[in-house]
């Protein structure tokens, strides 16, 4: 049996998860929530993680009912993400690895999402849509590499939604995207927005500028409501994502699609992707908030795979990095 502890803190979530041979033993998480209208800044986020991480580690060990002696490897997010919060988690991971005399495994955050999605849903070889506050990519596996078929050319889709939520002063608790999703259910009127698909890539910054302006003008004039705009924004950006995902599936002849990342728990996105999958005779796989949103278990799971295929990171190479491409990882654990 191999037991992996995973530390995640690349954005505003701090989490520690423990996985034993495909079984999630614990997955403790805390979210840094900012006031409405404000985003999270690196140094404040790092301070939050610093204050929480040791208690979260203690709870993760307790819930998993394991002792340090049972642990085989210490996994942590090497990148991509915000440098200061990443460093906080790496410092704790390095310290416990030395105290317990265990090897360290530096994990790519995006690969963590993919491996967690595969574990939870049982999808074998899916085309992956990875959508979150920091990343937007369509990914397919080929020859020990998660290849990026398409991606955003500017901001992530989650960042677009989060920043629109700030304009409307929507609450960030539990997350701005969740509150947009709820508000969108009350939307009645579709406001035409730019639709920006460029080949396999998408762009969101122009849509955000457009809708920010529309929010100020149209709501003041009574031409539409905040709910109408949330609804229109979701319909537009999700249609773009479904379009590029479908094109990737057609190209790969794929019969499975997996949605991962924080935006992946949006029910409307899952519904739209489900319609596309059904029309193609393909299967849709998605997970809920526990595993879609950043968590420690996803780092433990990807690290567990990496550890078993010999992917240990020497202590001196455990530095963190803001840029770490999904396709930079040698996926030695897959055929």
């Amino acid at each position: 049996m191999v037991v992996a502890v995973g530390f995640e803190g690349s954005a505003n979530k701090v989490g520690v998860g423990i996985v034993r041979d495909g079984e999630v033993l614990s997955n403790v998480r805390d979210t840094y929530i900012t006031p409405p209208g404000e985003g999270f800044q690196p140094s404040e986020t790092a301070r939050h993680h610093r204050a929480k991480v040791l208690d979260i580690l203690r709870r993760a060990l307790e819930e998993a009912k394991i002792t340090p002696q049972d642990v085989d490897c210490i996994c942590f997010t090497k990148g991509p993400g915000m440098a200061a919060p990443l460093t906080v988690m790496a410092v704790v991971a390095r310290t416990v690895a030395q105290l317990w005399n265990k090897p360290l495994v530096g994990v790519n955050h995006c690969v963590g999402h993919i491996e967690m999605g595969r574990l939870i849903t049982g999808a074998q070889n899916p085309t992956v849509l990875y959508v979150s506050g920091g990343n937007t990519q369509v990914i397919a596996y080929s020859r020990q590499c998660y290849r990026v078929f398409g991606e955003t050319i500017d901001m992530a889709v989650g960042n677009c939604l989060d920043r629109f939520a700030r304009v409307l002063k929507i609450s960030n608790d539990p997350s701005p995207g969740y509150n947009i999703e709820q508000l969108a259910k009350e939307g009645k009127k579709f406001i035409q927005l730019p639709y920006v698909v460029k080949g396999m890539d998408v762009s969101f910054s122009g849509i955000l500028s457009f809708i920010e302006k529309a929010a100020r003008k149209k709501i003041a004039k009574g031409e539409c409501t905040a709910a109408d705009l949330c609804y229109s924004l979701q319909e537009t950006v999700f249609a773009m994502l479904v379009e590029i995902t479908e094109r990737a599936m057609a190209h790969c002849g794929s019969q499975e699609v997996l949605i991962v990342g924080g935006v992946g728990c949006n029910k409307r996105l899952q519904e739209m992707m489900g319609v596309m999958a059904k029309e193609r005779g393909a299967m849709l796989y998605a997970t809920d908030m526990r595993f879609c949103i950043d968590n420690g278990a996803m780092i433990a799971q990807a690290g567990w795979e990496q550890f078993r295929s010999g992917g240990v990171t020497p202590l001196e190479d455990t530095w963190v990095t803001q840029r770490f491409r999904t396709d930079d990882v040698h996926v030695a654990w897959r055929e």
């Binding site: 040791l54 460093t87 410092v91 390095r94 310290t95 105290l99 455990t318 530095w319």
Partner: protein
């Protein structure tokens, strides 16, 4: 480099001091041309020297370092294996 800060941090044991050193030495100063950090361990004491071209950068670098030093110390206190 006009400004210099020297820290001497005593630990309970030489082993704890070297764990802190090995943990903190991995993260390099982002701009070595304006702020450099060197570290060593003597017995149970961690020795740290910062050198910077400006007082402000020295303050920023050392404040962040102290935060990470405190975090590794708290981790050692909370998660050391019973001897």
């Amino acid at each position: 480099m006009d400004y210099r800060l020297r820290l001497r941090v005593p630990f309970a044991s030489a082993q704890d001091a070297s764990i802190a050193l090995n943990t903190l030495v991995v993260d390099k100063e982002p701009k070595p041309d304006i702020c450099r950090r060197t570290m060593d361990v003597q017995d149970n004491t961690l020795l740290v020297t910062f050198e910077a071209t400006e007082l402000r950068t020295l303050r920023v670098a050392s404040a962040w370092f102290m935060d990470m030093l405190q975090l590794t110390c708290e981790t050692i206190d909370a998660f050391s294996l019973p001897a």
